[in-house]
Symmetry: C2
Subunit: 226 residues, 2 copies
DNA sequence: CATTTGACATACCGACCAGTATGTACGTTA
DNA sequence: TAACGTACATACTGGTCGGTATGTCAAATG
């Protein structure tokens, strides 16, 4: 009579309730920051009661940690880590990813959730900090791995340090996102994208001219070592 | 009998009281963010009473605005705008400024006050946003003006857009500051500095070799226009 | 000297907030 | 069907918050 997943999922669907709470919590935290996020706001947005929320999460902190672990992590995975694994020339992949970052006014307005949380919580709550750091490191490592692949394939300059170039990229993306958020202006972001893309192009290995090209030695490329 | 500025400044020195409130408010806001900053914390830090505070400032917001206008503005002026006006080669000046940015653990930990406030308040309070934007724009314009000077003197590549290069620099500085703050690690910041300095060096005009140097055309330099 | 005004001090208020105590109803299991 | 644990719902608490009403006292002003 009752197959596993009926639409009787109206009442008593704990997994669904939990996910809805997480989503609403993410939105509220993204809007107001974690410390300023209101439990009641989340409850009103979901039509869930306080008892239900505290049944699923031990505390506001636990809810916040779950938002980082499950929602923010997924956003970075979908937006960066997964695309990084695609086939094609590494630099082209990176340019494609950067260009595909949302320019919707509301996303410009509220900014990068990872950066927002890190800015607010890293100095204050070590558990938050560690979780966010793991995401940042995974992001950088993913980019670095792709650059290394490009180096071994000969499409990326071999005189650069993949890890440092990766963090350079992350810093630029977050820096421009901050400027655009403050200006509340998508154009600021678009200018940033153009400059980031220009920098990414400079990472390409110089064309192997048949007669033996010169090394083009002096340009800025985040070199290896000190 | 009473020269203007005696040391009787113990009781009833409204200007001093005001400045002390502003300083304490800045510290508290820097630590906790504006919305989470506690009025009582500021009062305890200054041994000033609530009545005194609300005599000098109409509201918490007014206090916050004053902090931005008087303290944060001064920090950027002292750290960037004034040094930008010095004599010497523009790129050397910029490198000197960037290198002189604090690496004290506590400053890494709490991050850039301008960026913190912008991240927290820009989407939420237009008055805050505008004040912070003015500071960002003054910062960028100061750098751009210096780059233009360098171009006219021939020490800075003339094929770059000064405004875009300036915002590129600001974005990188703030981006790395964010990464270092999340990592709570001054080394992250120092690596960032090295890379920023490397990029700054790439903005120098190529040496005018006596026989007519080649233009070194392909490196990334935030070019003019689109 | 009398009065007023600026610079505080104290006590208090209502709103809001995270968290909890307690109750209830569904659904599975024995 | 009886019992029990999960999944909620409601009402409440203690504490903190920004803000205010009111009072005091010193110094300038007439």
């Amino acid at each position: 009579m009752s197959n596993g997943h009926e639409k009787k999922t109206r009442l008593r669907d704990p997994e669904r309730t939990r996910k809805r709470l997480l989503q609403a919590a993410f939105r509220e935290v993204h809007r107001s920051g974690f410390q300023n996020a209101g439990i009641n706001t989340i409850l009103e947005a979901t039509n869930v009661t306080k008892g239900a929320l505290y049944h699923h999460f031990d505390s506001k902190e636990a809810l916040g940690y779950a938002v980082v672990d499950e929602i923010v992590t997924k956003i970075v995975r979908d937006g960066w880590l997964s695309p990084l694994l695609g086939s094609g020339q590494p630099i082209d992949i990176l340019i494609g990813i950067v260009r595909r970052i949302s320019v919707r006014p509301d996303d410009i307005r509220t900014g990068c959730p990872l950066l927002n949380l890190a800015t607010e919580m890293s100095p204050v709550d070590e558990q938050f900090r560690k979780r966010l750091e793991r995401i940042f490191l995974a992001w950088q490592e993913g980019v670095a791995a792709l650059l290394r692949r490009g180096q071994s394939e000969g499409t990326v300059r071999c005189d650069l340090n993949p890890e440092e170039s990766a963090s350079f990229l992350v810093a630029m993306v977050e820096g421009y996102a901050s400027l655009a958020k403050n200006a509340q202006d998508a154009q600021v972001w678009e200018v940033g994208i153009r400059n980031i893309v220009g920098w990414l192009r400079s990472l390409r290995a110089p064309r192997q001219s048949p007669k033996g090209g010169r090394p083009m030695s002096k340009k800025h490329v985040v070199r290896r070592a000190r």
